[in-house]
Amino acid sequence: MSDHSHDSEGHIGHVLPLSLLLKVFGALVALTILTVMTGKADLHGADLAVAMIIATCKASLVCLFFMHLKYDRPFHGLIFLFSVMFVGLFLVFVTLDSEEYQGDIKDYKANEVLELQVGE
C-alpha cells in the first residue's frame, strides 16, 4: 500500500496527487506514440504481441491510478480481474473449438463439387 498523505478525518476514498495524475497521463501518451511507431515498423510477426503488451501496460496504468485500484479495496480489483479471467476463458474455449469442424466443411465442399460434376 502506498502512503495516504492526503487522507484526513471523515474522508472516503483516496485523493491522488495532481503530479501523479500528470505523470500517468504523460506515460500513456508516450506509450501511444510508441505503439503507433511499432505498428508502422515491421517486427517480423511479433507486431500483435508487442501491440498487446503495450496496450496491457496502458490499461494497467489506467486501472491502477486513474481508476484508483492501487489504493482501493482489493476486492474491487479482484472483481475486475475476474472479468478479465473470464474473457480469457471465453477466448481459449472458442479458439480451441474453432478448427473442430474444418474436416466436415472440406468434405461437404468436396461433395458439392462432385454433385455438380455428376449433374453436368
Binding site: T32, V36, D47, M52, F66, T95
Partner: protein, 249 residues
C-alpha cells in the same frame, strides 16, 4: 440502529453511515464494469476468430483505416480520462470551479472523439468500405453487383493514403467478399464503443449540471467517482481497439 434524528446528513435511509453508502455504490459500479467487459468480450472473441481464420484479410483491410485519425482519437480519449481523474480529485477536495472546468474539458474531448469518428464513418460510407450486407458496400456478397459498384466507385475510390484505387478492382472476388467481414467487425466494435461514448456524454452533462448547482463536495462525490470509473472503462476498451483495428501490419 439509527433513528431519523441522528441519521447522518446525505445518507439514504437504508444505510448506516456515509462510508457504507459509498462502499455499496462502489461495489455496484465495479460489478457493472464487470458486465461491461464481458459484454464487449463477445465482439473481441468474434474479432479473434475472424482474424485467426483470415489473417491476410485483416492485414489488407486495416490499411483502409486512417491510423492518424485513430491515434488522434486515442490521445483525445486519454486526455479526457486524465481530466475526469483530475475532476474526481477536485470533487474530493471541494474544488467546485476546477471540477466544472474539468467536466467541460472531458465533455469537449468526448464530443471531439465523436466528431473524428463521424468523419471516419462518413469517409467509409462515401467510399463503400462497408460490411458485406450493405447495399453500397464494395465488398458485397453478390459478385455481379460488386463489379458495377466498383466501376461506379472507381473514380472516387481511394484509401486515406490514396493507395488502393486500382487494387480493389484486381482483387480475387472471394478475398474481396471477406474484406466485408473485417468491416462488419470494425463497425460493430467501434459502433458499440461509440454508443458508450454517447451515454458517457449524457452522464457527464448530468454531472456538470449537478456540479453547477453545487451538489458535490468532499462528503458527496460518489456520482463523480462512479461515472469517472465508467468513463475510464470506455477509454480502456479503446486502448485495445486502436492497435487491434488500425495497427495491423
Amino acid at each position: 440502529m439509527s433513528s431519523h434524528d441522528n441519521h447522518p446528513e446525505g445518507v439514504a435511509h437504508h444505510f448506516e453511515s456515509a462510508e457504507q453508502q459509498f462502499d455499496s455504490g462502489k461495489f455496484g459500479i465495479w460489478t457493472f464494469l464487470l458486465t461491461e467487459v464481458l459484454f464487449f468480450s463477445a465482439l473481441f472473441v468474434a474479432y479473434t476468430m475472424y482474424r485467426d481464420s483470415y489473417p491476410e484479410v485483416f492485414q489488407f483491410a486495416s490499411q483502409y483505416l486512417d491510423t492518424n485519425l485513430g491515434a488522434l482519437n486515442t490521445l483525445v480519449l486519454l486526455l479526457s480520462s486524465f481530466t475526469i481523474a483530475w475532476g474526481v480529485r477536485n470533487a474530493m477536495l471541494g474544488e467546485t470551479k476546477k471540477l466544472t472546468i474539468n467536466l467541460i474539458i472531458t465533455l469537449a474531448c468526448a464530443a471531439g472523439f465523436m466528431m473524428i469518428k463521424a468523419e471516419e464513418y462518413g469517409h467509409k460510407f462515401h467510399e463503400g468500405t462497408l460490411w458485406g450486407g450493405h447495399e453500397h458496400s464494395i465488398f458485397k456478397l453478390d459478385a455481379d453487383d460488386v463489379n458495377e459498384d466498383i466501376a461506379a466507385h472507381s473514380q472516387a475510390w481511394s484509401n486515406p493514403d490514396g493507395e488502393f484505387t486500382a487494387a480493389v478492382k484486381d482483387l480475387d472476388p472471394e478475398f474481396r467478399q471477406k474484406l466485408g467481414i473485417f468491416f462488419g467487425v470494425y463497425f460493430c466494435l467501434t459502433g458499440l464503443h461509440g454508443i458508450h461514448v454517447l451515454i458517457g456524454m449524457i452522464l457527464l452533462s448530468w454531472l456538470l449540471i449537478r456540479n453547477l448547482r453545487g451538489e458535490f463536495g468532499p462528503k458527496n462525490f460518489a456520482a463523480v467517482d462512479f461515472i469517472a470509473l465508467y468513463w475510464h472503462l470506455v477509454d480502456l476498451i479503446w486502448i485495445f481497439l486502436f492497435p487491434l483495428l488500425y495497427l495491423i501490419s
